[in-house]
């Protein structure tokens, strides 16, 4: 089919569509009320959810930590079965610091979300949009990999620091501490590759397709 023939059929199809395909105002309202499933919308939803979850848990830990710290009597403690007979000061500090770590993950995700919005707001031509989408997808992959990889080692590190300063008794001796550190590092390495594999499986096809489009649009240079 030559381009001119294509034009004739296209015109017929267009006229047919415009006359025959009319979606009412109510239908449009119903359709726009649904969730978007584009790559960017999905990424934004995931980051937003993670931010909200980590934020909520962080606030809970901070509140609980503060309560434990200011309480005069020994309070119910989630870690009591594991680390019995610890002072309110030690456990309160533990929850506060842990709350701050979780809060940091939330802030990290919120920061990434804001960056994505900034990139997305730059409304431009198709070539620039594709570049922006690629930037967003790559950023989201990095955020996911780093926040998943570092959460366990950072937690162990926080435990270790608190234990060293306040003598909570999480790590009764150096051997246990080394065992935990090695375990955390091994877990981090495993998580890194697993997350990388998962993200690759999820977005590689999409990234390749977009890179292909971008390459085609850049061909002139």
């Amino acid at each position: 089919m030559e381009l001119e023939q294509l034009k004739t059929v296209w015109k017929k199809t267009t006229d047919y569509n415009v006359e025959g395909y009319f979606v009412s105002k109510q239908e449009v309202e119903r359709l726009i009320g649904k969730r978007s499933n584009t790559t960017i919308s999905r990424i934004k939803r995931k980051i937003r959810n993670k931010c909200f979850m980590a934020g909520s848990i962080g606030v809970l830990l901070l509140t609980f930590g503060t309560y434990v710290l200011i309480a005069k009597e020994p309070v119910f403690d989630l870690l009591k079965p594991l680390i019995p007979s610890q002072s309110n000061l030690a456990m309160g500090t533990f929850y506060l610091v842990f709350g701050l770590v979780v809060g940091f993950i939330s802030v990290f995700n919120a920061f990434s979300y804001r960056k994505i919005l900034n990139i997305e707001e730059r409304k431009s031509d198709l070539k620039t949009s594709i570049k922006n989408i690629l930037t967003i997808v790559r950023r989201a992959i990095r955020v996911k990999i780093y926040s998943d990889t570092f959460v366990v080692p950072v937690t162990v590190l926080v435990f270790g620091i608190i234990d060293a300063i306040l003598g909570v008794g999480i790590f009764p001796n150096t051997t246990t501490l080394i065992f935990f550190i090695l375990g955390a590092v091994a877990f981090a390495i495993f998580t890194y590759f697993l997350t990388k594999y998962g993200q690759n499986k999820r977005y590689a096809k999409q990234i390749r397709a977009l890179e292909e489009c971008l390459k085609e649009l850049k061909e002139e240079n």
Binding site: E2, V9, N17, L31, T39, S124, D125, L126, K127, E220
Partner: protein
């Protein structure tokens, strides 16, 4: 061309089955709705619509077979997709889709804008390429289509 026509044409260009068309139609509507506050009127409304619609068409997730099976259609979809009107000659449509499907996503966008009788300047503005490159691409597309006919 009215707004719905633009959206519908983009869907027709990028999807070859009605489920995908319906999904893309909805995606484009949602994104147009969300992006509308950022439309400042520094380009034609139709140009802006093409930009948003093409952007969504290119970044949409291609559904897997499983997802296609699971996808639910609105109750009145038949009415939307197949209005009670005289149908186009099937052969012509098949030929058109066969030709379009051999083109890349970028070529599809350029051809569609050309078929919509947009000027090279407008096509260049929407795509983010130079007018000269639009001409180069059009020549290549013509050759590609010609080869298809010869084959």
């Amino acid at each position: 061309m009215d707004a719905q026509g633009i959206v519908h044409n983009v869907c027709g260009m990028y999807c070859d089955n009605r489920e995908d068309r319906e999904d893309l139609f909805q995606e484009i509507l949602i994104n147009l709705w969300k992006s509308y506050p950022s439309f400042r009127g520094d380009s034609k409304f139709s140009t802006w619509m093409y930009r948003v619609s093409l952007n969504v068409a290119m970044q949409r997730l291609r559904k897997t077979d499983k997802q296609k099976e699971d996808a639910t259609l609105p109750a009145n979809f038949e009415e939307i997709a197949h209005p009670q009107k005289e149908t186009l000659p099937e052969k012509e449509l098949q030929l058109m889709h066969a030709a379009i499907n051999r083109l890349s996503d970028v070529e599809k966008a350029i051809v569609m804008l050309y078929l919509e009788e947009k000027s090279n300047e407008e096509i260049a503005g929407i795509m983010g390429i130079s007018q000269n490159y639009v001409r180069v691409k059009m020549t290549r597309i013509r050759e590609k289509l010609k080869k298809m006919v010869e084959a």
